[in-house]
């Protein structure tokens, strides 16, 4: 892998939400870097804090109920300390956002062309006619067949795939150095998903942008990511390159996630699941290994008291030490063992 420059440096990021006069960390002590031309995937179940992390980058949370601390370094400046109007210069211009549900993400009362032109209005000096030309270029660039017609249409008149292309056109309008895609393919059907991922890949080749890809779809991760951060309960539990992660997953959570992907060629008719669920913000344990309650058959002494990220091999980080003694339930002398023996 050729060496690339870091473009975004997140250090000890905490994001907390206020619930009834108390602040609860939804994202806790996250440190990550994003390199140029890289796809960094962030995976985890719903409620593990991955979207919160994404929106924290440019402070998109409602300010009254959210506290963000730590550092988000972009071009040597800490975005966490930026005021709203300073952030507005970064948003859309340096950092583009792609959201999950393309229908909800577009204003139903505004024409497609206007919605794309709005980004240009705040970040470029183009006049209205130039903006219109640029909008048509952008629509063409994201693979929309009849840009002039689509620019004059409303969101509800387009198909899901086309809407997501429009959302992407908005995100790339100012050629951002960073793109944050929050589950960009979740609301789309499988064939369209592939098209959208291809489109993101093509756009990245043109702009060298770094992409933060939030997803819970490990198939998507395997396909497009360079590095993967696995998040659980607001923390990163494992961080590795995509090949390393799929070849040698270590953390019990990562292994459980991979284990729960249905395999078409396996004889195992049981759908593997991870028992329990992600604790809600107010009920989240703030001490010890947060995944421990979901693997109760692992001895408590195997967990660290204050689990830290350990670099196991180069660029491969795992939280807690419980991975060393982890095995799936029933596996040791259990049901699955016998099945394998037969």
């Amino acid at each position: 892998m050729k060496s690339k420059n870091d473009i975004l440096n997140i250090k000890n990021l905490h994001t907390s939400f206020r619930i009834k006069d108390h602040y609860y960390h939804a994202v806790e002590d996250i440190s990550l870097t994003l390199k140029e031309n890289e796809v960094l995937a962030i995976v985890g179940e719903s409620g593990c804090g991955k979207s919160t992390l994404a929106t924290s980058i440019v402070g998109l949370h409602p300010p009254g109920n959210t506290k963000v601390t730590g550092e988000i370094l972009y071009k040597g400046k800490n975005l966490v300390e930026f005021k709203e109007d300073e952030l507005n210069k970064i948003r859309g211009n340096d950092i583009g956002f792609i959201f999950q549900d393309p229908l909800a993400a577009l204003n139903p009362l505004m024409k497609i062309g206007e919605q794309i032109a709005e980004t240009l209005k705040y970040h470029t000096k183009l006049d209205e006619n130039k903006r219109k030309e640029r909008v048509l270029e952008l629509l063409d660039q994201v693979g929309i067949v009849n840009p002039a017609r689509v620019a004059n249409q409303f969101p509800h008149q387009l198909s899901g795939g086309m809407r997501q292309r429009v959302v992407i056109a908005i995100a790339i309008a100012c050629k951002p150095k960073i793109m944050v895609a929050d589950e960009p393919t979740t609301a789309l059907d499988v064939t369209i998903q592939a098209q959208i991922l291809d489109l993101l890949n093509d756009l990245q080749e043109e702009t060298d942008a770094g992409i933060v890809l939030i997803t819970h779809d490990l198939g998507v991760v395997a396909e497009v990511a360079d590095r993967v951060a696995v998040m659980y309960a607001g923390q990163i539990v494992e961080l590795a390159t995509v090949t390393e992660l799929f070849r040698n997953p270590l953390h019990p959570y990562t292994r459980s996630l991979l284990n729960s992907i249905p395999q078409a060629d396996s004889n195992n008719e049981r759908l593997e699941v991870i028992q329990g669920m992600v604790p809600t913000l107010t009920k989240m344990p703030r001490k010890g290994c947060r995944f421990a309650p979901r693997v109760p058959w692992i001895d408590e002494t195997k967990h660290e008291e204050n689990p830290a990220l350990h670099e196991i091999s180069k660029d491969h980080f795992v939280r807690c030490t419980c991975w060393k003694d982890f095995h799936f339930e029933h596996q040791e002398g259990g049901l699955q063992h016998e099945l394998h023996a037969n």
């Binding site: 998109l60 952030l87 909800a104 009362l109 409303f154």
Partner: protein, 320 residues
């Protein structure tokens, strides 16, 4: 769209026909007739009977209905027994008064309620918002006649700032500046009473729409584009939040002619509402039937207008 509008108008014809039958039937079912009130111990029953015969009140109901509906088509709703004037000119004059009062009220409502609703929603749970919600509770709970009487008592009698009845001072001639100002002067008390009560629903709708819109993804998209919050409110949230208000706009427009029975009665304002309640009291059939027909027609028209307005302001709605 034009085709749809024409079709909707055509559908209104049978609806109006059924309505007219019902109204006519109900009016006939009411005990007494216009001549009942004239009967005194000295009246010769034969005279009354003769009057009834002359007025056609002894004909079978379908004959009476036929005469009524044919004349109505020609804009002739007969004469008012109580006011000794043709119903159409009577209603025309009152309708104009009511129109001005309602227009004044509606403008006040929007002027007060739109900024209040938007700001309350924008700064949810702030002191301003809490004050607005309290205001809504109070105005929602207070009956029209109580508020009307209170306002009339304080600003009309106690302080004597505004006239307590009528629609214009008799000393002015129509068309002069003084006449216009006097009209406006008479509108203030009934107008504000109506407006204070009318703001409640508009404020509450807008407030909850804004609170809802704030959390929508398209607002997040706009923020991620770098659009300043102020612009997001004026460009994205404002228009989306006005949709439910627009949905009622058709009824609001046609409602301009309906008038309010309570307000017009309390403030002695010679409008449609007052005319309606007076004609009911005097069994003035021809006026009652004409008014109810008109109100019915306005409701039908209002729903059509609302649909047309919605299809203009919301691109997702197309009337087919």
């Amino acid at each position: 769209m034009w085709k749809t509008i024409v079709r909707r108008v055509l559908v209104m014809i049978p609806q109006l026909f059924v309505l007219s039958l019902l109204i006519f039937g109900l009016a006939k079912l009411m005990p007494g007739d216009p001549f009942t009130g004239m009967i005194t111990p000295q009246t010769d029953p034969n005279v009354i009977e003769e009057l009834r015969e002359k007025a056609g009140l002894n004909d079978p109901w379908y004959v009476q209905y036929y005469h009524w509906i044919v004349n109505a088509f020609h804009g002739d709703f007969g004469d008012s027994y109580a006011f000794k004037d043709s119903v159409s000119s009577l209603i025309g004059e009152r309708a104009l008064n009511t129109f001005w009062l309602s227009l004044f009220t509606v403008l006040l409502v929007y002027l007060i309620a739109i900024p209040l609703g938007i700001y309350a929603g924008r700064f949810q749970n702030s002191l301003f918002d809490k004050g607005t919600v309290l205001y809504s509770f109070v105005t929602y709970a207070i009956p029209t006649f109580v508020l009307g009487l209170l306002i009339l008592f304080f600003f009309g009698y106690k302080l004597d700032w505004f006239p307590t009845s009528g629609s214009v001072d008799v000393k002015y001639d129509a068309g002069t500046w003084g006449y216009f100002m006097s009209k406006l002067y008479h509108l203030i008390l009934p107008g504000f009473t109506g407006a204070i009560l009318g703001t409640t629903s508009v404020i509450q709708y807008l407030r909850s729409e804004v609170i809802d819109a704030k959390t929508q993804d398209y607002v997040k998209t706009a923020r991620s584009k770098g659009v300043p919050m102020k612009k997001i409110y004026s460009k994205h949230i404002f228009r989306n939040s006005l949709l439910p208000i627009a949905a009622f706009l058709g009824f609001t427009i046609t409602g301009l002619l309906g008038g309010s029975i309570f307000i017009e009665t309390i403030f002695g304002y010679p409008g449609m509402g007052q005319l309606f309640i007076e004609s009911l009291g005097q069994r003035d059939y021809s006026v009652i039937t004409a008014l109810v027909m008109l109100f019915g027609f306005l409701s039908l028209l209002g729903s059509l207008l609302s649909d047309i307005i919605m299809s203009i302001v919301d691109p997702r709605i197309r009337i087919e």
